[in-house]
């Protein structure tokens, strides 16, 4: 299971990466593995503002559907339309090509409260 260092992780299996002013978000390798083949992805419109922990979309496979939660609150500035077109990208490259949204955070310090790679690994082990 890939858990890149340098990223932050949520208990709902999203990852968050600081990229300058923005925070890029996707689902972890664990999440995509649990889901199996992705069949559907619902992403928000660019411009929407959502709080931390609010659902921003839905990801579906044949056997499961899960809400996607904001790791930090803010405005949606980018949405990965390419991933929505080719859903296999998410499974193949969950941390790179399979990113889902980019947020302009209202409160960047919210990122600090998330798990780091080691803590996420521990979290997965305990589950």
């Amino acid at each position: 299971m890939e858990i890149p260092a340098g990223l932050k992780y949520t208990i709902t299996h999203e990852w968050a990466r600081q990229e300058g002013e923005l925070v890029r978000v996707g689902v972890t390798d664990h999440a995509q593995n649990e889901l199996g083949d992705i069949v559907y992805l619902e992403l928000p419109e660019v411009g929407r503002w959502l709080a931390k922990d609010e659902p921003f979309g839905v990801i579906e496979s044949v056997k499961a559907a899960a809400d996607l939660y904001m790791p930090v609150g803010g405005g949606i500035v980018e949405v990965n339309a390419a991933a929505a077109e080719d859903l296999d990208t998410i499974s193949a490259s969950p941390y790179e090509k399979g990113w889902l949204i980019a947020i302009k955070p209202t409160n960047p310090s919210e990122l600090d409260g998330l798990m780091d790679a080691a803590a996420y690994e521990q979290y997965l082990a305990e589950a």
Binding site: E42, V62, K63, A65
Partner: protein
């Protein structure tokens, strides 16, 4: 009667292989005090001949539409059921099957439902349909919830022309999830939805219209949320049998950014412009007229069809086509991730068992009828209803209650109490219609009469004669 298939010897052998001495040992895990109080006080069992006699007696205490000439409507109609439909639904491979979760062994049932979905789309002019809902009333409530989920708005605007039971179900369904219902009345003259009131209801913010406080109107005490309307819900033809100005209603709704939910009688769709053609977003209705007996109100068939964009909001089962490893075409339940068995509390609905066999009946009915047959049924209904209307309105003391155009059902105003008229007609073996005062206080002097293709000229003339002798 017992359908158990174990002999005493079988039981002995099986108890031994399980490793217990007696049947009671298997229930030892149940606290003794519960087991001691568990005796059932039920009537002594009946053998099959006795059971038949008993049920025939009970059935005999009813006077059905075989005996009485039925002019009752209000969502359930006495239509002709072709014989093959009964034959198809009697097949045990369909009837005794469970939901087709194992597609390889259920291709027949799945294909039949796929065909039904297709036919509902054709009938309604919508792009996708589900495999059924419980009935037209709950289908309407589900459509409202779809609109709310999709638009993220918390208010629905409902015409009083929508079936009272559908309005009641809607009320029950949304009461627990803090949705406001704005009611729009009917124009006294035409019996159609009051467009000016509709425009106002769509445009305004704030206070809800709490209605007359009758059953189901329990919006009190809930905090009122965002004022924009998620959807407008109308029935076409409406409960009074009147055809609505659906184009105008859709235009108003679109202006307000609200979705349009149309509850449309399926037989009427053999003749009338389908909801998809005039811009509806969701079409729902009661499918009972499509090959199901009236059944004292159940089981029925709710159909739900919608535009492509709302596909993932659809509640319930959906059958889709795909291929197997060898490229062979097959069918399976799909988009199940929306459903309760996967999505659980986030499901689009909690619906599990629906009305699959009834959908099968509807599919068989529509296939047997074909476009010409369905059109002919609808045309016969329209002709006979208009004949009945004309003849009744020739009577002194009887006149149209509303002026709007109607399809197979209409409301007439009587100078005598409609309840009394119905009682008198019952003595002549006729179910004259539904006194509207029960649901619409402003129409306490009106009777709702439905005429299907099964009613002959003689039936109608007898109705007219019966009413005449009352007035």
């Amino acid at each position: 009667m017992s359908y158990v298939a174990l002999t005493p010897e079988d039981r002995e052998l099986m108890l031994a292989s399980v490793g217990v001495d007696s049947m009671e040992d298997l229930f030892a895990g149940i606290p003794a005090e519960l087991r001691q109080q568990a005796q059932l006080d039920l009537p002594a069992p009946l053998s099959e001949p006795e059971l038949l006699r008993h049920l025939e007696e009970l059935a005999g205490q009813n006077r059905s539409a075989r005996e009485l000439t039925c002019f009752l409507g209000g969502g359930i109609y006495d239509h002709f059921i072709p014989s093959l439909v009964l034959d198809v639904t009697a097949r045990p491979e369909f009837k005794t099957a469970y939901t087709p979760y194992q597609p390889e062994v259920s291709q027949g049932l799945l294909q039949a439902i796929y065909e039904y979905q297709t036919m509902i789309c054709e009938l309604t002019g919508m792009e996708v349909a589900n495999a059924s809902a419980y009935d037209g009333a709950t289908a309407t409530a589900e459509a409202a919830l779809m609109a709310i989920a999709h638009t993220r708005r918390q208010r629905v605007v409902v015409s009083e022309g929508l079936h009272p039971a559908a309005r009641s179900c809607l009320q029950t369904h949304v009461w627990s999830v803090e949705v406001e219902i704005s009611r729009v009345g009917l124009e006294g003259e035409t019996g159609q939805t009051d467009l000016a009131a509709l425009e106002k209801a769509l445009g305004r913010a704030g206070r809800p219209d709490l209605g007359n406080g009758s059953h189901g109107e329990r919006a009190v005490g809930r905090p009122f949320l965002a004022d924009d309307a998620a959807c407008v819900i109308v029935q076409h033809p409406n409960f009074l049998g009147v055809m609505e100005d659906v184009e105008a209603i859709c235009a108003l709704a679109k202006q307000a950014g609200a979705l349009v939910v149309v509850n449309a009688d399926p037989i009427s769709l053999g003749l009338l412009k389908p909801p998809g053609d005039y811009g509806a977003d969701i079409a729902v209705g009661e499918g009972q007229p499509l090959g199901l007996p009236m059944s004292f109100g159940g089981p029925l068939l709710g159909y739900i069809a919608c535009t492509e964009g709302l596909l993932r909001r659809l509640p319930g089962r959906i059958v889709g086509a795909t291929t197997d490893g060898l490229g062979r075409r097959g069918y399976c339940l799909t988009l199940q991730a929306r459903e309760q068995h996967i999505r659980r509390e986030k499901a689009t609905s909690n619906i599990c068992t629906n009305e699959a066999l009834c959908a099968l009946a509807a599919g068989a009915y529509l296939a047997l009828m074909g476009p010409q047959g369905l059109r002919q049924v609808a045309a016969l209904c329209a002709c006979k209803a208009h004949y009945a209307h004309a003849e009744l309105c020739k009577l002194e003391g009887c006149e149209p209650a509303v002026s709007g155009p109607f399809f197979r059902e209409f409301a007439v105003k009587l100078t005598k109490d409609p309840e009394e008229v119905c009682r008198a007609l019952l003595d002549r073996g006729i179910l004259a219609g539904l006194p509207l005062g029960r649901h619409y206080p402003q129409l306490a002097d009106a009777l709702l009469v439905a005429v299907t293709e099964k009613r002959t000229k003689a039936d109608i003339d007898a109705l007219v004669e019966g009413v005449r002798s009352c007035l």
